[in-house]
């Protein structure tokens, strides 16, 4: 859906044609659901949050000023609902997260020698799973920004507005997040040649 088509749909909804909203749901539901799912790690929470985000968007549509794409606004609602839930869960569990700041780097990691892309579906699947697991191990601030970028494809400018950061911070934090992910994947030997050619077999982490 182009930006113009999007605005036309929004106008119809604002004029009382609430059924027209379905086009916006269909267009955005996958990314919204996945954003909530990756943020919360829980299918039920993701379902609640993503549905609520659409309902909030519908009821708040009169306040939508069109300064960003509707999808970006929706991602922001989804992100906020996810963060609210995560904060609540942390509070209930009496846990505190350790953040590393953006100056903290992973300068000690070695860049693996990745000679080529995954060669077959098994390798691609393994890489997807390893990346997903690696992202979960990142510090919270790095995890959320990487999810936001990779799942929604939001621009740095939109991410900056959503997270209340400067664009420069978004740039450096994303870079740190990715370096952190490479560091973690390296630790598990995800990119090592020996592992990549043992598709489907258990890899002994000791070597």
């Amino acid at each position: 859906m182009t930006a113009l088509e999007e605005l036309a749909v929004i106008e119809r909804v604002r004029n009382g044609e609430s059924d027209a909203f379905e086009a916006l749901v269909l267009e955005n539901q996958k990314k919204v659901y996945n954003l909530a799912f990756k943020m919360t790690g829980n299918e039920n929470d993701a379902l609640d949050i993503s549905q609520e985000a659409f309902i909030k968007a519908f009821t708040g549509l009169k306040n939508f000023r069109g300064e960003s794409r509707f999808s970006v606004w929706l991602y922001r609602l989804t992100y906020n609902l996810s963060i609210d839930l995560i904060r609540k869960n942390q509070r209930n569990q009496f846990t505190s997260l350790t953040y590393i700041d953006d100056s903290g780097d992973y300068s000690d990691y070695e860049i693996p020698d990745l000679s080529g892309e995954p060669e077959n579906e098994i390798e691609r699947k393994e890489l997807r799973e390893a990346i997903s697991k690696g992202i979960d191990e990142l510090p919270e601030k790095h995890r959320e920004i990487l999810i936001m970028r990779e799942i929604t494809g939001m621009s740095y400018d939109d991410i900056a507005k959503t997270l209340g950061l400067s664009e420069g911070t978004v740039k450096s934090r994303l870079s740190r997040a990715r370096q952190g992910l490479v560091f973690i994947l390296n630790k598990y030997g995800t990119f090592s040649e020996s592992n990549r050619h043992k598709s489907g077999k258990e890899v002994d982490p000791r070597g």
Partner: protein
């Protein structure tokens, strides 16, 4: 390699197509010469492709479920507009949403003739208990959030411990009763009186130690709330987590009506501050 460290932070925005001008040209020249940095770029691109490939589909009923809620909201909205004509009041209003503890408890604050999202207000509020989303869950009415707290701690509940069903709202749950305009037949509450709140919950977990309330507020931050803990929704509203005491104070100030999204764990209350 010391030189590579200079370029490493440029590879990430480059992979995102967010690098331009001289920086981009400079990095591209370096990439031609440096296998290590090319490898890093390839990994970042693989991360991107893998993340895109790992997206899962929402449940089949997702669209239908969202649209049925929206339809209910629209119908209630129409009903609310009629009611508003009769009860005009010019007080600025605030929308409040209460997010129940999803893992442990589902709260549904229902109202009628609920008009979620309409900025006008009414000078009376009526409430109607909403059928619970699960056939075996209990429902009780409370006169304030304090009662909710009691219910939570097991002092006065009809909740069913042992029901391990997650408290999240299920999409397409066919067992829930629709929110209808029949609530207009319910008794009204005078402005400022404590609202009658219908609460449904499932699993009563001992782990739930605090009652958590997230208010979605439109406009100014009410006094006594922590500015730093709010999240901006970019539509003139923001979410904020507040204590039950504060929630009660706000609710006692008066509210006009509220609207629960049927079985949702998130309910919305329209709050009108006193003069």
């Amino acid at each position: 390699m010391a030189e590579c460290r200079k370029y490493r932070d440029m590879i990430s925005p480059y992979a995102d197509d967010e690098l331009s001008g001289n920086a981009k040209d400079e990095l591209e020249r370096h990439l031609e010469m440096c296998a290590s940095c090319r490898s890093l770029l390839l990994i970042y691109q693989n991360i991107n492709v893998s993340a895109a490939g790992s997206l899962v589909e929402p449940p089949d009923s997702f669209t239908e479920s969202v649209m049925s809620k929206i339809k209910a909201l629209s119908e209630n909205s129409d009903a609310g507009r009629h009611a508003e004509d009769k009860h005009k009041r010019s007080t600025r209003s605030v929308i409040i949403s209460i997010v129940a503890a999803a893992a442990c408890l589902a709260l549904a604050f229902i109202v009628s003739p609920g008009l979620f999202g309409l900025m006008g207000t009414r000078n009376s509020a009526s409430t109607v208990p909403m059928a619970s989303a699960a056939p075996d869950s209990a429902a009780a009415e409370f006169s304030s959030l304090d009662a909710v707290m009691k219910a939570e701690s097991g002092e006065d509940t009809g909740g069913e411990a042992g029901d391990a069903q997650p408290a999240t709202a299920g999409a397409g749950n066919a067992t829930q009763a629709p929110l209808t305009s029949e609530s207009s037949a319910m008794p009204s509450t005078a402005p400022g009186a404590a609202p009658q709140i219908a609460v449904t919950w499932r699993n009563t977990s001992d782990e739930l130690r605090t009652y958590y309330v997230i208010f979605t507020i439109e406009g100014r931050l009410p006094d006594g709330m922590d500015e730093n803990s709010r999240t901006d929704n970019s539509d003139g509203t923001f979410n904020i987590e507040i204590s039950v005491e504060t929630a009660n104070r706000l609710l006692k100030d008066g509210f006009s009506y509220e609207m629960g999204a049927q079985e949702s764990t998130i309910a919305l209350i329209k709050y009108t501050p006193g003069p």
